[in-house]
């Protein structure tokens, strides 16, 4: 009987890990339906980019307040996970504070967890107020209506409760130590509890059994909350806490102005210009540009799962700022939504996608959006996790023009001019040097 809590703990832990692994695998499979693109060159530059952008948060600094708060939450999140190691050992082996033999080091560790925990709490609280009370356009935007807005709030509330549980657990523990009760009496320095020793007074004159109860329930809440958090990630924009690292590692390292070269087109153009040129046979019939998520590359799909929905892209987008329908954040969210739908379709049909009559272009993203883009790269520059919304817009335009011939009349006129007289306007090529001789 006495080991039941430990067995329950062990089963929940394993279940949590298995479920998480399955969900991550599904996301991996969804990402890999994308087309190949080589992002394995120049490894040292890639590591540097990851260190700078993901670990060093270098692109957050342009907005100092959220940057500092985010650092609290991010550093706190990572460091407090060390505490989880102890919790897991304690949970399985029925020990209490198994790492306390570390002595002074343990004091330092617990004390810093407490301070970080309080900072995480503070950070999340301010974030929560920014989202729900302050008037910040990118957080108020209709892009976030419905699930995305709730998602953000759920996570913030969960993180605040986790941190509160952690601190109140320590507070009860601290009180039990002072009372020198049973195995709680580890003789830890009060310095280990810089925050919770103050919270302990909130327990008033609680009896020993109720203090034990408080300590145990917050302990369980904390670890179950962490397992829940982990399993919530794959359904949330918070998956970025994991994908930010690979996503920045696989960043596009070329100049932002260099748009991809379509080699399938190159072959056809070469054949047109030189009749003796024999294009290499294509492995599968291809589509020019992208109509659906299958036509995008795995990196573009990984981008969609890495998006934090922060809206920095949209708040710097000239089209969006001037009231156009285009929002680069929405482009990323739409791509993820469609990819999730395609993934569920595959789940239902034994891993194979069955045509559902829908597509990314048309059902999720409209012509009005993609044609409003200035291709100015402001969104790409802003994104804190190096997402490239512009590349998706470009591929959707390619499909519209090369497969659907759906360019506007004005654009068709411009292209006809280039084709016929080598300039986007109706001038004769022989007049190209007139500027030199005219007054």
């Amino acid at each position: 009987m006495e080991y039941i809590p430990n067995i329950v703990f062990f089963v929940l832990l394993i279940a949590g890990i298995v479920l998480f692994t399955l969900n991550v695998k599904k996301i991996r499979r969804n990402i890999l339906i994308g087309k190949p693109v080589d992002r394995n060159d120049n490894k040292s530059e890639r590591w540097k980019t990851m260190f700078r952008v993901a670990i060093g948060q270098s692109k957050m600094v342009t907005r100092p307040l959220p940057a500092i708060l985010h650092i609290f939450v991010y550093v706190g999140f990572i460091i407090i996970n060390i505490e989880v190691i102890e919790i897991i050992i304690d949970g399985i082996f029925k020990t209490h504070r198994v790492l306390s033999f570390l002595g002074p080091l343990y004091t330092i560790l617990i004390a810093s967890f407490e301070i970080l925990g309080a900072l995480v709490f503070l950070g999340c609280l301010v974030f929560f107020l920014r989202r729900n009370v302050a008037h910040i356009n990118r957080l108020r935007s209709k892009d976030l209506d419905g699930w995305p807005r709730s998602d953000a709030n759920y996570i913030l509330m969960l993180e605040m409760s986790l941190m509160a549980a952690f601190l109140f657990m320590n507070a009860a523990d601290f009180r039990l130590q002072t009372l020198q009760f049973s195995h709680y009496n580890l003789g830890l320095s009060p310095n280990a509890f810089p925050i919770s020793s103050h919270l302990a007074s909130l327990y008033g004159n609680a009896s020993i059994p109720s203090l034990v109860m408080a300590e145990r329930s917050t302990w369980w809440f904390h670890i179950l909350g962490i397992l829940a958090f982990m399993n919530y990630l794959p359904y949330s924009k918070h998956f970025h806490v994991l994908l930010a690292f690979p996503n920045t590692y696989y960043s596009n390292l070329n100049a932002k102005g260099e748009f991809t070269n379509l080699s399938s087109v190159t072959n056809e153009v070469k054949a047109m210009l030189d009749p003796t040129f024999i294009p290499p046979a294509a492995a599968e019939p291809h589509r020019f540009g992208a109509k659906d998520v299958h036509d995008l590359t795995w990196k573009q799909l990984m981008d969609s799962y890495s998006c934090t929905e922060c809206g920095r892209c949209t708040s710097s987008c000239p089209a969006n700022i001037t009231g156009k329908k285009l929002s680069p954040r929405k482009i990323m969210m739409a791509t993820r939504d469609r990819l999730e739908e395609v993934g569920k379709n595959m789940d239902k049909n034994a891993g194979k996608f069955v045509e559902d009559g829908k597509s990314l272009f048309g059902d999720y993203i409209s012509g009005e959006e993609i044609w409003a883009c200035n291709m100015c790269n402001a969104c790409v520059q802003e994104c804190p996790v190096n997402i490239d919304p512009l590349s998706i817009i470009m591929d959707l335009r390619r499909y519209q023009v090369m497969e659907q011939s759906a360019a506007s009349n004005e654009l068709n006129m411009m292209m006809t001019n280039i084709e016929n007289n080598g300039a986007p306007w109706q001038f004769s090529p022989s007049d190209r040097l007139n500027w030199a001789i005219e007054n």
Binding site: A255, T322, M414, I437
Partner: protein
Amino acid sequence: MSNEPIHVPTMAELTAKGEVPEILFWVGCAGSFDDRAKKITKAIVRILDHVGMKFAVLGAEEGCTGDAAKRAGNEFLFQMQAMNNITVLNGYEVKKIVTGCPHCFNTLKNEYPALGGNYEVVHHTQLIQGLLDAGKIKLQDGANKGKKITFHDPCYLGRANEEYDAPRSVLEKLNAELAEMERSRENGFCCGAGGAQMFKEAEKGEKEVNVERTEQALELNPDVIATGCPFCMTMMTDGVKHFNKEEKTKVLDVAELIASQIHK
């Protein structure tokens, strides 16, 4: 001054004489045909002549780089243009190119190599910076002294190719007051012409992008909005007209500012 006819050598002419220019000046479609941009083209030529740099243009053999076609989604047309241009450029064994337009600059520099066109490509503000640093351009002081100038970063020079300093370092030589807009350099704000928008009506919205950008510039109440792109030139000029500020605020290319101050 800038409207006098000038003699501009073509590659065909030089080759016939057995001569090789130091640099090819890629004029671009706007620089060749747009009345306002032609003045920028002439300013660049004046600077090249002033320093005695031997250059040539392609003239009738130059064709649109295909930038707008590519960004409108027509990769076929882009590659047709690119391959035709590459055939011409490689035929003349061109090594170094200066462009008067960030779009031509970006396309030639970044997108032609994959199709067999490998050249050293510089934007005219980079070339001018080099010439100034080498002490080759003698500037008369005066004309712009004490004036307030703000530089509008063209997206395809700035973010697309991370060149923010060359135009500014050139402008510093004018002894003017350089003022920065709130959105500048990495955070620069598009003029509204990029991504083939130059050639179409904007989508439905509350405002034109160029009006928004010009408003940002006019907040500084500058004497000059300087830029380095013929499309930004059109957009910002229209924007200044929209606010009836053309008396106070001129829109000028970096090349024009320098050309107006070189010793005869």
